[in-house]
Amino acid sequence: MNGDSACAEGALAAGCRFFAGYPITPATEIAEQMAKRLPEVGGVFIQMEDEIAAMAAVLGASCAGTKSMTATSGPGFSLMMENIGLGITMETPCVVVNVQRAGPSTGLPTLGAQGDMMQARWGSHGHYEIIALAPASPQEFFYQTITAFNLSETYRLPVMIMADEVVGHLCERVIIPDPSKIRLQSRPRPKGRKDRFKPFHPGSNGVAPMAHAGEGYLVHFTGLTHDEKGYPVMTAEAHSEMVSRITEKIRANLSKIIQVEEYRLEDADVALISYGISSRSSLAAVDEARQQGMKAGLLRLVTVWPFPDDAIRELAKRVRCLITVELNLGQIHMEVERCAGGMAPALLVGHAGGTVITPAQILEKMLVGSGRG
């Protein structure tokens, strides 16, 4: 099956029972699959009037206690941004899939890119933390959708899956494991007296238990700056406290959230850093470089946000150069450069999108980086 369908199956396996979306290439197949499959498992699919409404409906459904998601591409992702901020502020778990196409604007609707990576990080206004994953194959798209739900439930925030058109439309074998083999997480839930419950009072891991509409807790949720009761408080102190809480619950759990994969890095002196479809070109390039006698390796970002600062720093200390491979003109590259902090030069293999990066293009840069080019 293709990556988009694998994503939908992953969502169902994760317990997603509500999908609100709007058709957009190259993510439409996710909506189509959910339209067919959700009613079979007791869920609800609704095609909304636009992506703003889709994101709002997803938050509403999640606040009523249902695992919920939407899927889109660049233009729709832009429209969702304000309500993604609401989800962050209301600490509402949900999954947002972006099957990236080449932008800006309408761009190349049918061709892949990885140009929305910084938008995923900072696209909604204000300061916050986000979690974003990047699948490199349909099988990984399946598993990452489950992971995304688990992370969103554990930390109570919208989690993004930053796929790309190539992975979304690529057809490969996808194994769907027996449900008993899949570990699922649910949001923390309140205990004790309902009248004393404070909906934004954090538990031990920094995450507050979540009461749903209709359970008798009589909660108030607002996008305004609020205190632990959920009541609006218009002061700098309350704002600092709230923003600290919603950023710290991620910052304090980085080791549990961040996932990277190392490939032939043990003795490498040229390290590629890549994610999504570009990491597959990078794998081929590493093998080819090794055959040519170069000590090459790859650090594949499974989670892109929060950024694996420590892994990059550690790598920068021991390699001759870092090369970021991505389908944009240098977004994650800037993060790599920041973490390298001059300890190793940071190079980029990237273009504006529309076609995958070839191993040959990467090899060329590796020769430059290793001093052989």
């Binding site: 339209a35 709002a56 509403g60 009523a64 609401l86 509409a213 807790y217 305004l224």
Partner: protein
């Protein structure tokens, strides 16, 4: 501190009294519309924990913050799609959207149309104060032609929506218009809307002395006089003929009430595979 506490207000158990005083200005009509809504909500269901109030942004949108029910104060214009998701996720809930004209009909206009078209099971109460009050009195999609606002200092060159006509044309199955002076009719209408299935829309005209009134020589008492003297109740009136003109007259009443399948009913019947 004192033994002579003020007597309990009949709506105290449905209000977040710890959030009072509210933000609404003296002479504002939202409070009265809000009270009518609370009275209707209080008697609509035995189990009030299943009633949820959702609002968008603006003065009326602050209503969700004062009601002691599950309440969600969402983004500007998006209360209806948020409530849509909530209703679909838990059909047991009664969803009330309480918001203003700018929120529901300018920035959120598209969502209103589509929720009405789907006959989504929501009760939408729109406090129409003819302008954007929260931001200081700018022109809205409901501002009368030639009215002065801070963004139409020489008069509004545009024409306003006729909200009941818009709601009816989009597919709403219950449509009424009252003023905040007609509290009994208004409360009854909200009660009827809460008791039925489908998309119900109630427009409530309300004065905004701070934003609208002071620029248009309409003191709160003048607004109330208009609501008393210029209004005609015509239940069942053709929504295309329900005028709203401070000089010529204002048609009030319950204009539309009919049944058709809600989104959820149609979804269950058509999209859900039958158990064989």
């Amino acid at each position: 501190m004192s033994n002579n506490r003020s007597p309990k207000h009949p709506l105290d158990n449905i209000l977040r009294t710890d959030r009072i005083p509210h933000i609404w200005c003296p002479g504002c009509g939202i409070g009265t519309a809000f009270s009518s809504s609370l009275i209707a909500i209080q008697s609509a269901r035995a189990d009030l924990t299943k009633t949820v109030v959702v609002s968008g942004i603006g003065c009326s949108g602050r209503g969700a913050g004062y009601v002691k029910l599950d309440s969600y104060h969402t983004t500007h214009g998006r209360a209806i799609p948020f409530a849509t998701g909530m209703k679909l996720a838990n059909p047991e809930l009664t969803l009330v959207v309480f918001s203003g004209d700018g929120d529901l009909f300018a920035i959120g206009g598209n969502h209103f149309l589509h929720a009405a078209r789907r006959n989504m099971d929501l009760t939408v109460i729109c406090v129409n104060n003819f302008n954007y009050g929260m931001t200081g009195g700018q022109a809205a999609a409901t501002t009368p032609n030639m009215a002065k606002t801070s963004t139409t200092p020489l008069g509004n060159p545009e024409l306003p929506f006729n909200l009941p006509l818009l709601a009816y044309a989009a597919g709403a199955t219950y449509v009424a218009r009252w003023t905040m002076l007609h509290t009994r009719d208004l409360t009854q209408s909200i009660g009827e809307a809460l008791a039925r299935r489908g998309f119900s829309f109630i427009e409530v005209l309300a004065p905004c002395p701070t934003g609208y009134g002071r620029r248009n020589r309409q003191k709160p008492i003048d607004s109330l006089k208009i609501y008393q003297e210029k209004t005609i109740v015509k239940n069942g009136a053709n929504p295309a003929e329900v005028i709203l003109d401070f000089k010529q007259g204002i048609t009030l009443g319950k204009f539309v009430e009919y049944d058709k399948p809600t989104f959820s009913e149609a979804y269950e019947r058509i999209c859900r595979p039958r158990a064989s």
